[in-house]
């Protein structure tokens, strides 16, 4: 354990560190203990608070709701990536009368809350709540991914485009065949991170009555008695979300690593075991 910011610990630092760790540990334990105790006093860990989970139908209901969440997320992810690619190309088009309107639309989409778009599609245009959720997510995340791709293209060395043009490729061809694949690869971590955001944002469907995980969970606990099961259902829902999101996040990290982009991150590097990695 070493970092550029501080030395390998000597005896005195080790002692301070041990004291700090103990104090922090105790504070956290005390806080956890207190909350667990309060929860326990209210009987939240009693079997009668959790027995709905003996019923396979309850699990089936929650898993189906999770399926709805994932379905909306998957469809929206595909749509957002495709829209993002299209928008990034149009945004960089040579003709002003394509570029400028697209820029305005992008700014508009990026600046609005997803929930407002969902309410618009569902309440104002009267679309089905599933379609409203997917459409809003596609538009919003497509705009963001489009901007990411564009900055990826801008960041490429100028010579890439020049050499494409000089071997006789057209402007659009150069963009599609030479620049785009590189930009996409460079921006992959950002795109995947945005897809995690997209996955989390499906939960906004809660507000417009799409039967995603949180809405079903709420209905479920209300059917069985919210005061009795509200807590246990919340815990199960959180666990489900964490499992899914942490999996996707880990995949994102793996994708970034496989590409060989080392985090330019001295502090993280410094916290790895190899002291040489900190430079």
């Amino acid at each position: 354990m070493s970092s550029v910011l501080y030395d390998a610990p000597g005896p005195r630092t080790k002692r301070t560190s041990a004291i700090v760790s103990t104090v922090v540990g105790l504070v956290i334990l005390a806080a956890l203990g207190y909350s667990l105790l309060t929860l326990g006093e209210q009987g939240l860990f009693g079997a009668d608070r959790w027995n709905i989970f003996n019923d396979p139908l309850v699990w089936l209901d929650l898993l189906r709701a999770l399926g709805n969440t994932l379905q909306a997320a998957a469809l929206a992810a595909v749509g957002a990536v495709i829209l993002g690619m299209a928008l990034s190309l149009l945004r960089m088009a040579e003709h002003r009368w394509i570029r400028i309107p697209v820029t305005v639309v992008l700014e508009f989409l990026r600046g609005l809350p997803v929930l407002l778009m969902m309410v618009f599609f569902w309440g104002v245009l009267g679309l089905d709540s599933f379609i409203a959720v997917v459409l809003a997510l596609v538009l919003y995340n497509g705009a963001i991914i489009g901007e990411a791709l564009r900055s990826g293209i801008v960041a490429l060395p100028k010579g890439q485009r020049e050499s494409g043009l000089s071997i006789g490729l057209g402007s659009l061809q150069t963009r599609l065949v030479i620049e785009f694949p590189q930009a996409f690869r460079n921006m992959l971590p950002i795109i995947v991170a945005q897809l995690v955001v997209l996955l989390k944002d499906t939960s906004l469907g809660y507000a417009i009555g799409y039967a995603e995980l949180i809405r079903r969970g709420r209905l479920l606990s209300e059917n069985f008695g919210a005061s009795q099961y509200g807590f246990s259902v919340f815990i199960v829902m959180t666990a489900m979300y964490l499992v899914v999101n942490l999996t996707v996040s880990t995949l994102a990290r793996l994708a970034a690593r496989r590409r060989g982009t080392k985090d330019v991150d001295p502090v993280i590097a410094a916290n790895t075991k190899d002291p040489g990695a900190s430079v």
Binding site: T16, V20, F108, L115, L116, A207, G230, F231, Y241
Partner: protein, 215 residues
């Protein structure tokens, strides 16, 4: 257009609440984010772990679920707070890790040589951080901090689903009574949001350009 002027009061209330949510959360989440960031780069493993677990936990939980916790679970635990403070608490808990990550990546953007130079002339951890790293980190931290704030502006809308009257609530309330003017109302609300987000975005871009250092 008339629908907007007829409901100017509602618009004012929604806009005011949205701004209040935004300001309240920034004031609370920024210090919390700073603390979490400091924890994550500190020499003490226990603090690093606490910061990392908090960050990972909140970053992988949907905001709706955080709201859900504060509005439906906390009362069952005997903590009853008004809707508005609860909404600010939910937004703060959710936003702080993003601020923390922005600050931390800013610290990381300072070249290692700077820290090495500081350490080699005998500065300690605290001195290295406050005298050498942070002053240089500030310039690369401000644009991402603004970007998190823009995201926060949009996230305040989630409070709509949890009994807080935001700009989006203006639309949901008038859906039944003004079916003919909904598009105009939607555009009015959109403009209100863009009034906050676009200037902030321009500011971030401009600062990014001005503060960029060739390294």
């Amino acid at each position: 257009m008339n629908a907007i002027f007829d409901n100017l009061g509602l618009f004012g209330e929604g806009f005011g609440n949205t701004l209040l949510l935004l300001l309240g959360t920034v004031l609370l989440a920024l210090p919390l984010g700073l603390i979490v960031a400091a924890m994550r780069i500190s020499p003490f493993a226990s603090l690093r772990w606490t910061g990392t677990v908090y960050t990972e936990l909140l970053r992988n939980t949907p905001l709706t679920l955080v709201f859900f916790f504060l509005f439906f679970v906390m009362p069952k635990l005997g903590v009853t707070v008004d809707f508005f403070p609860s909404a600010i608490a939910a937004l703060t808990l959710y936003t702080a890790p993003f601020y923390a990550e922005a600050i931390r990546s800013g610290v990381n953007s300072v070249p290692v040589g700077q820290a090495e130079a500081a350490r080699s002339i005998g500065l300690g951890f605290g001195q290295t951080l406050t005298l050498v790293i942070l002053p240089q980190a500030v310039r690369s931290v401000i644009p991402p901090l603004i970007n998190v704030t823009i995201a926060l502006t949009k996230n305040t809308s989630v409070a709509t689903a949890f009994f807080v009257f935001t700009l989006v609530s203006v639309l949901t309330r008038l859906i039944r009574s003004n079916p003919a003017d909904l598009i105009a109302l939607f555009l009015g609300i959109a403009v209100c949001y863009l009034l906050i987000t676009i200037p902030l975005g321009q500011l971030a871009d401009r600062l990014e350009k001005r503060l960029a250092v060739a390294r």
